[in-house]
Every structure is written in C-alpha cells, then in structure tokens.
C-alpha cells in the first residue's frame, strides 16, 4: 500500500496555489509594505540584495586597488568612506562584504532550517523512543555555546565561511527545534492531522502540508532571528580569527581590521558597525512583519484575497460580498439549501 504513489502533497499544494500565487505574494509584500517598520525592512533588505548583486560586477574601486601611500585616508570624492590599512577603498569592501554576509546568512538559515526541521520531525514523531530521545538530546546540546562549536570546527577547518555556517547553523537549528516544538506538537497531535492520517495521509505529507505551514509563523520569526544572529556571529568570529578568512570581504572583516584604528579615526569603525546594526535590526523586524503578513490567521488581507479568488473561481456570477453572511440561518433555510446542494 505504501508503494502506491498516493496523490502527493504537491498535488494539493499546487491546486491551492493555482489561484494566482503571484497575487498571493504581492498581497504579502503589500501587507508588509503597509506598515512603517515593514517599509524599513523591505528597503534595507532589498538594498542589501541589490548591493550584493551589483558588487559582483562593479564596485567603485577595485577591491585590490591598494594605495600604500594613502592608507587610512579620510572620506573623499574617490574614496567615499576613506581607505583601510592597505589603502583599499572601504566603501568597495563594505559593498563586497555584503555579498559574503548574504551568502553566510542564506547558508546558515538554510542549514538551520533543514537541521531544525529534521529535529522537529523527530521530536514530534509518533515513535515515542525517537521523539523522547530527540527532545532530550536537543535539551542537552542546546546548552553548548555556538562559539565553542566554532572553535572546535575551526581547529581542523581553519578560519572559513564553513565554520561560521556549520557552527551557527547547528546551534540555531537546535534553537529553532526547541522553539517551534510546541507549535509543531500542537499541529502533529491535532484533530486535523489525525483525520488526515485516518484518511491515509503519509507522515511525510503531514509534515509538509500540515505541520510546516502551521509552524511557519514561529519559523519565520526564528529564522530571521537566526539570520540576524548569523550576521553578528560573523563579526564576532571573524574578530576572534575563526570566521571569514583574510582576503574575503565581509562586514566582520571590515569591523575587525578597522577596530585597531578606533583611537585615530573612529569613523572607520562606525560604518561597518552601523551597517551590521541596521541590517540586523531589519532582519529581526522582518521576522515579525513576515509572520504577520504570511500567516493567513494573522493577516486578514491575505484571507480576503484568497476568499475573493476562490469565490470568483467558483462562481463567476456571484459577488462574494453580496452573498448572505450565514450566521443564524434558520432551520427552514437549511432544508432549502440542502435540496439544492443535493441536486447539483
């Protein structure tokens, strides 16, 4: 029975999403944009993405254009934020750093999501032994600081992006598992999952179509927090020499190298610190607004859009807002409806 390919999760998912997925996406964006903090985070994140992309093909100065005669220069027309200790353009390095940090954030978030969800799946599994063990293991491992993991990893790997990604992804995955577990458990033990199971839904299908959508709000918040923390961790670990290797631009690199000069020219440290702070704020806020926007339970606009498109698809003639808002439909009305429904 297991071997027969039952109508997969994708089938239903695709089915629902056929009602204009783009529209749904734009509603979500609009919902975020409508809020003041949503505007802020969208702008910051879009700018980040744009700068990262642009830096792949263009930076105001080449990263490797070092002018040893003008190190630690003050901001000028050719060097908007001045130069660093090698005489390279700080602005260009910060621009290029944005792509490294973006990469780190994306990889860390992806790893922590995969690892965290795997743990969640184990923790809400129907096998008590698996569920019990994984819960306890998570509770134990979670108390080990990320930096310790990074230190141990940096031992064989040396300073590298992989150290940051693996250490942070591992740690944040544990956190994520712990934080989302109650919501996941609620979904996993819910009546709708039981009835789906009674109808023959597989465990995988339940995970993908019921549990994950239901922990999505918590997940959104947690992942964006992880993203923010990954940016912070990058700067910390790079400063400690176990993060981004030298020669690779990153904000942590800019921060760590300019830290030395704080006494002479404090402004140099200001920029990377400011960027990190602003981006982390944006990421944290993004989690909150994303949760509110993407969750149909919390976002009435999204619900309305879905209802409208469903109503329109179902019966083109009916104006959904004109339809009776059936609350206290009387007994008589039911019988009538019943008959109609039966004949269709």
């Amino acid at each position: 029975m297991r071997k027969v390919r039952s109508p997969g999760a994708g089938e239903t998912a695709a089915h629902t999403v056929t009602h204009k997925p783009l529209r749904r996406f734009s509603i979500v964006l609009q919902s975020i944009w409508r809020r003041g903090e949503g505007k802020f985070t969208l702008i910051v994140l879009a700018l980040w993405l744009a700068v990262a992309l642009v830096s792949l093909v263009w930076t105001p100065q080449s990263l490797w254009a070092t002018d040893g005669y003008h190190v630690w220069a003050k901001p000028s027309a050719s060097h908007w934020l001045g130069t660093d200790g090698t005489g390279a353009d700080v602005f260009s390095w910060l621009m290029a750093g944005s792509r490294t940090n973006l990469l780190i954030v994306v990889l860390t978030v992806a790893l922590s999501a995969v690892w965290g969800l795997a743990l969640v799946a184990a923790m809400v599994a129907r096998t008590p032994a698996l569920a019990g063990t994984s819960v306890v293991v998570v509770d134990a491992l979670i108390s080990i600081p990320t930096v310790l993991i990074a230190l141990i990893l940096a031992v064989p790997l040396g300073a590298s992006i992989a150290v940051i990604v693996v250490a942070c992804g591992f740690g944040y995955g544990l956190n994520l598992a712990r934080v989302t577990r109650p919501a996941a458990l609620l979904a996993a033990r819910s009546a709708y999952v039981e009835s789906a199971r009674a109808n023959g839904a597989s465990g995988w299908r339940v995970l993908v179509s019921h549990i994950i959508p239901n922990i999505l709000p918590v997940l959104a918040v947690q992942l964006s927090l992880s993203a923010g923390t990954a940016v912070l961790a990058e700067s910390g670990l790079t400063y400690l020499g176990i993060g981004v290797p030298s020669g690779v631009p990153s904000w942590g690199h800019s921060l760590a190298t300019s830290v030395k000069l704080i006494n002479v020219f404090p402004l140099t440290v200001l920029w990377p610190g400011l960027i990190v702070t602003v981006v982390v704020v944006a990421l944290n806020v993004f989690g909150d607004v994303l949760r509110d926007a993407v969750d149909p339970v919390a976002n009435p606009a999204l619900r309305q859009a879905v209802a409208q498109s469903a109503g329109a698809a179902d019966n083109a003639t009916a104006d959904p807002s004109a339809a009776p808002v059936a609350r206290n439909t009387g007994v008589a009305e039911i019988a009538e409806d019943d008959g109609e429904g039966g004949e269709r």
Partner: protein, 264 residues
C-alpha cells in the same frame, strides 16, 4: 453491513485501564449514541475504532473482516470512515482554506473512489452546500473567519465529502448555540437516510447509507437523533439498547441520574 466492536480494553501509559470489555455494534443507516460523564472513555473508544489508538485486547470487526494492524479490514475501515472531532476549530487546519480542508479526504482517496482531479472542487462545494454553507462565500475562507457553528459544519462537510460508510462524531455540538445544533442534526438525519448522498453502493445499487456513531453528553440531542444508546461510566458499559428504552425506562441508576439531571 455489520460492524462489531467486541470486548476490548485499553490501558494508557499511566498504566490505568480506561476501557473495560466494551462491546457495541452499529449498522448502516443507524445512529449509535455514546453517552457518559467526562473522562468515561468515550473519545478513547472512538479513537480505537478508527485505529488512531490501539486496544490492548479484544477485536474489532468491520463488514465481517477483522480489523487488526495492517489487515485488509483495517484498510477498508480507514478508507471508508470519517471522523468529526469534539473541537470544531481543532479539527480544521487553521492555515488551510475551507476548500482545502474539505477536499483533503477527496485528494487522499481519489484513486480509491475513482474520479477525476477536476471533480474535486465541485464535490467539495457540494458537501458545503449540504451542511448549509454557501460555497461561494465559504470555500475561500479560513477557519479563523468562521463562527463556531460554521466551523462545525465545515468539519462535518469534510467528514461526509468522501461518502464514508461510517461517521464517528465526537461531541459535535459542544459549545454551539442551540439554533446551530438543530441545523447539524438535520444534516445528519438526511445523511443517515441516504438522501442525496450522491454515491451508490456498487454491490446493492442502493444509495450509501452510512452508520453514525455519535458521542454526546446532551441527552436532548441524543434523543433526537440516535437509534440506540450506549452508556459508559468509568470505562464500563452500564447500559445499552434502543433510545426509547434507555431514556424511557433506564435500567441503571447512573443512567437515571443522567436523565434526571438533564431534564429539568
């Protein structure tokens, strides 16, 4: 069609036995009501019947076949039954639209029932209409935009959409105002009679008349719809029989207490 539930007990992790030798049976087109105090094991009984929980001893028979782990009988039972849970909102995924929730059993059973993918939406709309909800209005809604009565009706639509032969309804009327209760009962009655269920039993050529097992603590409701009653107390069957007999001339003290308390 015959469905027998013979003699099974169940113990929980806490090592406390919850059900003691409960036997019952229900036939097509018939409603069996299970009543009893809170914690007497009613929900557990329904869960065991559907294989959502396992009994420690005893056996369940469905259409003449034993229902054990992985048996043909259990597959048939799962494929042909539906459940309505006590809590209307709990049984609907809060992040799924009504349409998706109602059509989920259809998707899961499409092959077995043998219809095309493009029929699904129509069937879901039809089921909604049958419980008195306008599909144009409700298909696209999310559970949080529904009132309790509406949610309950959606859950029932979901239960009846795939033409099950057995419906288990666990206190489907709790926390719902009386007007809404009446609507739901009407729906059940029409389903029991086989009216417009839309599906025909291939063996007999008759419309499918499902059996309903309903758990309830509202004796008024029970009297209204049930053909037979099973009274549970602390896991034991204290009394069972036709509705009129049990409510009219109760044999056990406990049943008498229940009736006395309800009928003021």
């Amino acid at each position: 069609m015959h469905r027998g539930l013979f003699d099974f007990g169940r113990s929980h992790a806490s090592r406390r036995q919850v059900l003691f030798g409960v036997s019952a049976e229900v036939h097509a087109g018939e409603c069996l009501a299970v009543i009893g105090a809170s914690g007497s094991g009613k929900t557990t009984l329904t869960r065991i019947m559907l294989g959502l929980a396992a009994a420690d001893s005893g056996n369940i028979e469905y259409r003449g076949e034993g229902v054990g782990r992985g048996s043909a009988g259990s597959r048939a039972l799962r494929a042909e039954s539906a459940i309505v849970f006590q809590d209307p909102f709990g049984s609907l995924d809060p992040r799924w639209t009504v349409e998706r929730s109602v059509s989920e059993p259809l998707w899961l059973r499409r092959r077995a029932l043998g219809f095309a993918a493009d029929e699904v939406e129509g069937k879901a709309a039809q089921a909604l209409a049958r419980v008195g909800l306008d599909p144009r209005v409700f298909l696209g809604r999310y559970p949080c935009d529904l009132s309790g009565g509406q949610a309950q009706r959606v859950a029932i639509a979901r239960a009846i959409v795939a033409n099950p032969r057995l419906i288990l309804a666990d206190e489907p009327m709790s926390a719902i105002d009386v007007a809404a209760r009446v609507q739901i009962l009407e729906t059940f009655q029409s389903i029991l009679s086989g009216e417009g269920s839309g599906a025909v039993d291939t063996a007999t050529g008759q419309p499918i008349r499902p059996a309903i097992i309903m758990v309830s603590h509202d004796l008024g409701v029970v009297q209204h719809i049930a053909d037979r009653i099973l009274v549970l107390r602390e896991g034991h069957v204290v009394e069972s029989g036709p509705t009129d007999a049990v409510l009219g001339s109760p044999q056990s003290d406990y049943t008498r207490q229940l009736i006395a308390a309800a009928s003021l």
